[in-house]
Symmetry: C2
Subunit: 124 residues, 2 copies
DNA sequence: CTTGACATACGAATTAATTAGTACTAAACA
DNA sequence: TGTTTAGTACTAATTAATTCGTATGTCAAG
């Protein structure tokens, strides 16, 4: 048995990002935003948003004739969960090797590094 | 059309981690390691390792009767690619918000933070 | 030489994720 | 009032990832 994803799948995340940006969104809002990047059917977006609702990521209420969807959980919490899952999967749960990678490879700019140093120092 | 994964899938990664640990491994080696954690058929492992080979992550040569598999690319490069993909997908390509999350939430211990500060300072 | 252990090759079944078609409904309007 | 429009509900098809069964080959021990 394949263990089921308990984080957002790529397409689910794509949609959540659009909802987060907007605070709330209808299927049409999301559909039009996605269309700018790729071909997709209106009903595909609807299906995904319904899935996100049944999974507890979105909640809806009727607005005029359509549903208006809002995030059901804080964005930070979701993102944090995705980071956690990534660290578990790739680094067996320890964040430190990820940090080392980030600092050593070109994933971070000089500015980023200075910002971190400041953040760490302030949190002491 | 769904864009194809160009990083390791969860199960592929699981197997690569075992091969990385060992430097080289046969299907049996990996099979036995996986068995300690979950039920899996020998041939399933074989299929996955063949896939990893055709995707260019592993190369094989015959050792006695079985194939001995080795990484075909440096581990660092693969991991770096996975981090890149994650940052692209979750943070639209900028590493800095990931850092902020790591520093602010409990993903990092105090020791980790100090280690980073030292690393950053040394790299200046 | 035959049998058993262990390997690969190949093909297929299963599951999850994604996409989209079709039927139906209600409001808007000519 | 009938038709167009914009929405939902329901269902099905497609693709990728994962799992595994069966057929087959080879070597070594008896």
């Amino acid at each position: 048995m394949r263990p089921k994803h308990n984080t957002l799948t790529p397409q689910e995340l794509e949609i959540m990002k659009l909802v987060w940006q907007r605070g709330a969104a209808t299927v049409r809002d999301v559909y039009e935003a996605l269309l700018e990047r790729r071909k997709i059917a209106y009903t595909s977006v609807m299906t995904m948003m319904k899935i996100l609702e049944t999974k507890g990521y979105l909640k809806k209420r009727r607005q005029d004739r359509a549903f208006l969807y809002r995030p059901a959980q804080p964005q930070k919490q979701i993102i944090s969960g995705m980071i956690r899952e990534f660290i578990d999967r790739v680094f067996n749960g320890s964040a430190e090797p990820l940090l080392v990678h980030l600092v050593k490879s070109r994933h971070l700019s000089e500015k980023d590094l200075q910002k971190i140093v400041r953040m760490v120092e302030e949190s002491e």
